[in-house]
Symmetry: D2
Subunit: 207 residues, 4 copies
């Protein structure tokens, strides 16, 4: 059986939808929260503390992509789920990513980190979630439910359909990916790390 695709209905619209969402988020994300997040990161770097990044599912993959860049910057960084993860100690930094702030394994892991005196930085859509409440610093990245009215408008008016478009956590995940990549540039500047330095720390054998 062979299918022919005659016409694209969504691809380019959704690319625009997600990019527009990121633009909106860049306007509303809290500068104060970002500064506090950067302070945790810079202090971990300068005091040579371990930074452990974690998240479940696609949020975990976004966290891993951030962890790689932290390594390129010279951080002593690890990601939950890798084989090689050292113990977390007092004053180490744990970065937990969860749109809902309610992912059980992440909360269990964050509580374990907190119990040994690590700092917790949460990236979540919900300031009142269990994850946010146990964290030292929270950066709120909106998920779909947070701007549902506008989105529904977008969906109904522009594309003529009633279902929300980017499914499930997509908007949170993609926006968080780009937000964290933007933090990396700020950290390059603060820590005086050039792109060439990062390239030199890039894996030369990897999958």
């Amino acid at each position: 059986m062979t299918t022919k695709i005659e016409e694209l209905k969504y691809v380019k619209n959704i690319m625009r939808e997600i990019a527009t969402y990121v633009l909106k988020t860049s306007e509303i994300v809290s500068e104060e929260q970002i500064k506090r997040a950067l302070e945790l990161l810079v202090n971990a770097y300068r005091n040579n503390k371990t930074v452990l990044v974690m998240g479940a599912g696609r949020s975990g993959l976004v966290g891993r992509a951030f962890g790689m860049r932290l390594m390129h910057l010279g951080f002593r960084t690890y990601v939950l789920g890798d084989t090689i993860v050292p113990p977390i100690r007092k004053e180490d930094l744990v970065i937990a990513i969860s749109g809902s702030g309610r992912t059980k394994l992440i909360i269990t892991a964050a509580e374990a980190a907190k119990s040994v005196g690590a700092k917790i930085l949460a990236i979540t859509s919900f300031p009142d979630s269990p994850l946010a409440l146990l964290s030292d610093v929270v950066v709120i990245i909106p998920g779909r439910t947070k701007i549902s009215a506008e989105e529904d408008y977008f969906a109904r008016q522009i594309l003529g359909i009633h279902e929300p478009l980017a499914p499930l956590g997509t908007l949170f995940e993609d926006t968080t990916m780009i937000f964290l990549d933007s933090l990396i540039v700020e950290l390059m500047s603060i820590l005086g790390v050039s792109e060439k330095d990062m390239s030199n720390r890039h894996a030369n054998i990897e999958l």
Copy 2:
């Protein structure tokens, strides 16, 4: 030692830079290439073929995020690097993601897939790269070097700095993430899969 961050220089600008890059890409990505990519995917789905997604480093993480969504759509999908990966057979689909199109382990793996008669879909910035040349269908997602003039302009004029901004493969990776998430919505429509169907196929125990 404690550092205070007084002022953000880049975070919001870089979020805008990346989002703007995605918007530009949505205009220039080839509809014809996208249609051919969708045909490979839809045929794999309808003929119950295995889809193996692969990439190295951050491109691999973007591929894994896409693989998860393919699973939510009901594809028989796997990602290279997972413990559980079945053999690839004739007419299965391998999706290889590499900005440069030159990543050795990915080319080795794609050649192995080709030798058993699998179809190869490449996502890369370079149509003349070894990966593109061995693939059945190629979707070109531009990387930084492809629009360097504009970007340099952007960097110099708007932000007043000389270094390129989003480092290394960031623009390719983030744009590919959003492009692939947009393909998912097109596939939802073509295959008649609702968000609720996807939610029902979402892992309930995961890290």
Copy 3:
């Protein structure tokens, strides 16, 4: 600085120690427990249920090695920590490996599986551990503490040292690896799967 190694003190002795430990365990592991474990596995296979294998650290790696073989046998199997993990439903089988039976993330995950009606098979050293108590079937594989007297004797008399030899969970992990590989052969016989069938289901592109 270059170091020369003049003499081996432990390698061959420890290989013998671990192998001897496996031999002892083959005598004392409960046939009744093994039969009940096999029943859970065979029923999952015959009813096409998902089998999710999980463990933390080295126990998780042993579980992954078992998961691969289950896939070769034709099971619908996944391992926690892989990118691709489907939802767990009523009557699916979760295999949890933990020497202590107290690993927090594993207990959290096992409880989540139990709450949706999955069957839980635990491989642990401790029949009274939280993991064992919440499981449907438990196979006890002894860990070091369980036969410490003999081991201490072995260490003191044969090798002339006072510390236990194979460190931490090594004896549990290696014995469990071999025990699970032995279950695979029993399953080959019960399910009528030949080595050639398994070879045909072996990944041809993998890392």
Copy 4:
């Protein structure tokens, strides 16, 4: 459908078969090869070089289990396939595990490591394999084919069956796991690392 298991035919026999195979291997593995392998490891440790462990499939899992223990000993160690892998440099150590010595992705990766001047330690059954030939030091761990006559004898005479018992690479993988765990004890002695030191370096948050 419910299956009852009335009788175990293989489990305990196979446990004994594998343990006996490990015992035999402990007699025939080359002391000279082990000493040279230990020298590479000890020099990496004392000169603070990166040790990258790699293997495909179940050999890769055995490698990861070894990598974890190297971390517990205080090595600067990583495993191929983890998210966090630093670049490999001149004089770093790559440990490649492949029963056949012919696994394509592993040879590609080992060649890449060699090209930057890293040392390669191979664990394989075949001294003439491509992997062995490009390595600085090789430890031969026999796989099934190497002692097939004896094994066939064992299978036929003792257990009354004609098929080889532990399927595919099982004997190589399990024996290598135990061999590498035995190397760990030798390294504890050489480097003066106690079990308590190792326990202090054990992950306290892990999956």
